[in-house]
Structure formats: C-alpha cells, structure tokens
Symmetry: C2
C-alpha cells in the first residue's frame, strides 16, 4: 500500500458559510466571476451577494455568464480573454459543476498561450505541458453533484469530445465554499441527477484499481450519506439537514476523485453526453449504472459487500436500484434523449478514444465487446 495524498483546498462548509467570504483571505484584488448562462445565479440573488461580499474586502469583480450545462471550449477561451483584458488575479466559479469546471479551465488559459485543447492529454488534444500554472481558483458550489470543489479536475466539451483535465499542482481550488443554503432551490430531478453523480464518483473511486485507504474512507462515508439522505433531499428540497448531508457526501466524493479516480463508467457517460449535450451527466450515469456496476459484482465481492453495508443492505446493486426508485429516476431511458441502439458501438469507441485512460483503472479490464454489451444491457 503506497500512495501520494494531496487535497490542499480550504473548505468552508455549512449553512451560511458564504458570508464568511467577507473576512476570509482571498487570493487577489480583482476577480473574474464565472457563472452559467442560465438565470438562477441572479434570480436567487447569489451573484449579487457574492459581489457585495467581495466589495466588502475591496475586491473588484467582472462577470462571465455564458457557461453551458456541458461547458464548451469556446467559452473557456472567451472567459480567459475577459480575465486577461481585466487583469483579473483570481477566478471564482459560482454555480454547479459546469461553472466551477469552466472557472478552473479559464484560470489555466488566463495565463497560458495558445488553445485550451493544446493542453488536453487525450482525444485530439495535443498534450502540451502547461508552463504557467493557473490563476488561483475559488469555488462556490450551489449544487451537490460533481465534487469539483474538492478536486483538481475539470471536464470541457470540444465538438463531440468531452474530456477531463487538471493538475493537482495548480487546478485545485485554493478555497471552496459549500453552503447548503445555496442548494435549497435546486429542483427535485436535478437534485437526484447530481446526487447520483456524486454517488458514482464515490462508487467508481472505491472499486477503481488505484483506490487508496484514504479514498476508501471518503467513499464509504459518501455512499452512506447519499443512501440515507438523497431521497429526502429529492422529496423535500427545503430540508436543510438533508441538503447538508448530501452536500457533505458530494464534497467527500470530490475528495475521492482527488485520491482515487473515476473509471470507465464515466468515459462511457462522457461519450453519451458529448454526443447528446442535452443529456445531463448524472442522468446518463444513472442509465448506465445497473448494467455497468453489475458487471463487476462477482469479481470484487468484498468491496460490493462494504458498499451494500454502507447503504444499509446486503446486495449493492439491489440497493442501487432501490435508491433510484426512491429518488424517482428508475425510469430514465437513453432513447428519451435521442440515443439510438445503432449508436452504442460508436459511443463505446468514442469513450475509449477520448477517455480511454479510465478503462485502465477498472477493477478488472473490460474488452471493447464487453463494453458494447454493457451499453446494450443498459439501453432502453
């Protein structure tokens, strides 16, 4: 058992913690705030609150508000240009995983030349070294889904390639705010999609062949919290205790990402939503999960037993299905999002082309043919 451990992010966790930004040491005096193209950050007043808190510290800010649910490379480049133009010295991602991931990538491109895809290590990326690191990143998460506030990773889409990137040396947020009060307004279905995304980060990180003792303890606690509290958070979004526990589970799932890694389930889903950007990442994972996770059940029975126990049962896949039922996401279908059965081979290929490295982390290796079988079994 050997491992390297690093999660340098300072995390302010809990209801009301956003307000602490008024006195918290921040990494600069001029911030680029990155938010989604949607209306929610302004509608709920989160953006205005953030701007005011920064003002209280004498920090000027500029807003970039175009990020899509699956953030695209063009917006990374545009946001980075805005950061340069305004001499921003740090970048704040405010919102869900998309905005925070985009903030990370913008922070890189704000201080490095060329095109973002020059630095991407797979697919059609050139894999060039990042010479200048990144601007400091602050993450303020208003959803509980990606765990990106506690990991160095960012996922950006370029054409039909949706690829992860990051470097523990410079794309960890220096500061993350996880304030469940900001999550009270997430609608039930999104709460479920995001909660399952967090669940799969923890599950995949737990069964990955590079799991560590540290990722194991984060993963099992995260799985336990999601099984116990996600149904309540979905059923009653105003339940602050359930929001808080799911938020903690999500931050823990980010810590799993930092100490272990996703496996090929994520490659497959990225291929699906890369081709069908309207498919929410969490929904895609839910569609895959029963077929995908059943594949490994008898190959690593001890790990499946521990996950089942964390969920309060004895059979992990059964507990997974039950949780999907409780959260009202059991009936999701690929066909509802325009995925056709004919496409499954192309999805399997695209998954290996763009994020093939995650297949190497699977608990046992799966062949291209098995990959297609899993997709076929998951297809409805």
């Amino acid at each position: 058992m050997t491992f390297d451990y690093l999660i340098p992010t300072k995390i302010l966790f809990g209801a009301g913690k956003l307000n602490q930004l008024a006195e918290e040491k921040l990494p600069g005096t001029k911030a680029l705030i990155v938010i989604s193209a949607g209306t929610s950050m302004r509608k709920h007043g989160y953006l205005q609150r953030l701007e005011k808190l920064l003002e209280q510290q004498g920090i000027h800010s500029v807003v970039y508000d175009k990020i899509l649910p699956n953030p695209i490379k063009e917006h990374v480049m545009e946001g980075a240009a805005l950061a340069k133009e305004n001499s921003c010295d740090f970048v704040i991602g405010l919102g869900g995983g998309s905005s925070i991931d985009a903030a990370k990538s913008i922070a890189v491109m704000a201080v490095n030349p060329g095109d973002y895809w020059d630095y991407i290590g797979s697919g059609s990326g050139k894999g060039e070294p990042v010479e200048n690191g990144a601007l400091p990143i602050v993450a303020i998460t208003t959803t509980a889904g990606t765990g990106t506030e506690a990991d160095p990773w960012t996922v950006i889409t370029n054409g039909d390639e949706k690829i992860g990137f990051g470097d523990p040396a410079f794309t960890f947020p220096v500061l993350s705010v996880v304030d469940p009060e900001l999550m009270l307004s997430v609608p039930p279905q999104l709460t479920a999609f995001q909660g399952f995304d967090a669940l799969f980060h923890s599950v995949e990180g737990y069964i990955a062949n590079i799991a560590t003792p540290m990722s194991d303890i984060y993963a099992l606690e995260s799985i336990r919290l999601i099984a116990e509290y996600l149904p309540t958070a979905v059923a009653d979004g105003t339940n602050i205790e359930a929001r808080e526990k799911v938020a903690l589970a999500n931050t823990l799932s980010g810590m799993v990402e930092s100490t272990s890694c996703c496996i090929s389930e994520h490659s497959l889903e990225h291929a699906m939503s890369g081709r069908h950007p309207e498919l929410p990442h969490g929904a895609g994972l839910i569609m895959l999960s029963e077929a995908y996770l059943s594949h490994f059940a008898d190959k690593i029975p001890e790990k499946y037993k521990a996950m089942a126990q964390a969920m309060g049962g004895t059979d992990f896949v059964e507990e997974l299905v039950k949780l999907q039922e409780k959260c009202g996401v059991r009936e999701l279908k690929m066909s509802d999002y325009g995925i056709t059965e004919n496409e499954l081979e192309a999805i399997a290929e695209n998954a290996r082309d763009t994020m093939g490295f995650l297949f190497e982390l699977d608990p046992v290796q799966i062949t291209p043919a098995e990959t297609v079988h899993i997709l076929q079994a998951a297809y409805r």
Copy 2:
C-alpha cells in the same frame, strides 16, 4: 454543522516512499535538517540516506542534532540561528514527533525576530502575532505517534511549561513522508507509547465538543486500525503490514488534530511531562486514560458506543484496558516516573495555567476539583 477544513500537506505514504524525495519537488535549495540528540538517525542510516537524496536534487543541507524527547525552547532558538546563519530556505524534521515539532518551531523562528515564547499564546507566553510566517517545513516521520506530519501543531517545553503552538496558515508541513520501513527499528515499548498517543489524539478529537464530520471519519478509522494492528506492531516490530497500518492510523490522528482538537487529557499530560521530562508523553497519557476517559463515558454514550464498535467491542473503556494489556503497558505507574501524590493538585493547576484552552473543548466541562479527582483515580 459548520466547519472550516484545511489539510494542505502533501503526504507520501508507504514502504519505500522516502526514495521519492530524489524526484519530488522540494521547497528550496538549502535545507536545515533537524534530528534528535539520540543516535538512531545516524545508526540506522536514515540521515545519510536523506542527505544523499537531497544531493541528487542539488540541495545542500546542514544538520541540527540536539533535539530532546521533549524539545526545549533553547534548541528552537539555536536551530533557528543555525538556519539563518546558513541561509536555509526550508526546514526538514527527520525523526519522531519531537524532531518534527522542533523543525516547525525552528521554521517560525528562522524568519521572525525575538524569542519563541513571545509568540506563545498561553502560560507565560506573550501571544504576539507572527508577522513573517515560517520557512516551508518538510516532515519525515520515523515513528507513529504524534501525527504531527499531518497537522500544524508543535509542542515545546520552556521551564515547566509545555505548550502547543501553530498556525494553519504556515506551520503545516508542505510535504510529509510516512514510510513504515523507517519505523521497523522502533523498540516495542516506544511503539506502544507512540501508538497510544495516536489513539488518544483520535479519541480526544472524536469526543471533543468541536469535532466535525471530517474529524469523525478520520478518528474512527484511526481507532479501528490501532485496535487491530498495534498489538502486532508491538509484539513483532518487523511486521511491515502492522507498521504500515499503525502509521496510517497515526497520520489519520494528525488529520483529526487538524480538523478537531485534543482535549484536557493532553493538558494534564503536558503538565505531568513538563514537570517530569523523562516521562514519555504516550506513557503519561496511558496512565491517565482509564480514569480520564471513564469520566465522560455516561455523558456521551453514542460516541463511546461508536468508539467501542471501532475497536471490535461494546464497551469502550473495557476495550481500552484490553488494548493496554495486549500491548504490555497496563502496569505503567506515575510513581515510577517520580510523580508523587502530593503533586497532583499542582499538576492540575499547571494544566489549566499552560493549556487551559483545551479544557474548553471537553465534551462536558470538568471542574478543578474533578480534575484533581481524575488524577487521583489515575494515580498509582
């Protein structure tokens, strides 16, 4: 539930990990290496290995080798003077908790004026602000006892005051190496003392009134690992698996210190070993523990149940006593180290004078009279 979380230290964990220093990015080009006044770092060749690994990176080093088991302020000042004289740009603590704690304090005094006690916030310390932070600190631990490799704290003795100090902003190690191969030579009794020190960090941090969900998961896993593996590590010091698990438990106990805190048991022991420097810290804690921890058992039954379960039983204090028996430390007596019954009131007073703030973190407040009663119950 709100908390701030920060453990920025990069940790290289596992057998053989020391060798990774040959390629790991280090925070400077001239290091002060801080080791104990004992012979073990040279006898086992650890110092020579470290010097060679640094040389491979072109890093020059100077050695300060006077640290005592309870490190004293004079040596902090002397080590800091040596660091200044040689323009060292980082400090490496190599050894047990004493050497690493001393390295932290030396790193502070290498860049700040005046006397170390000017910055100490309790006892006769002046509590002045540390203006210049500290040199970067690297910790290489050769024991599994204090968890100092994963926390920002350092404990230094000045006369009969033994006081903790540290600032998460600058006294966390930037890098820690936890290589159980370096622990194979620790003799059985010290292995037990140190393992129990780690256990009490986790137990106290778990029952402290400022415990967080993060400290809870570290604490319970640490308690579980120590209960399962410490007896083997004591009985057969060459068992690398047992050494590894106890080392992990110890690092986790440091993470507990970073996310929760010790409570008054530590104040009491510091008062004991502050007055009797020949008393090993872990031994002092063991002497106190049954009486001290029994005091809170019926006040926080849920927490005691969880700790008992982590140790594989149903009654925590019973499991604690069993573990002491298995590790051959059940018969330790205060009187063997020169503590007299007449002294107990003075110890209780000294504990409040020098580290009174830890009493405020107890799960329920204990009165001065109760404190003396606990010491009397523990006295043999």
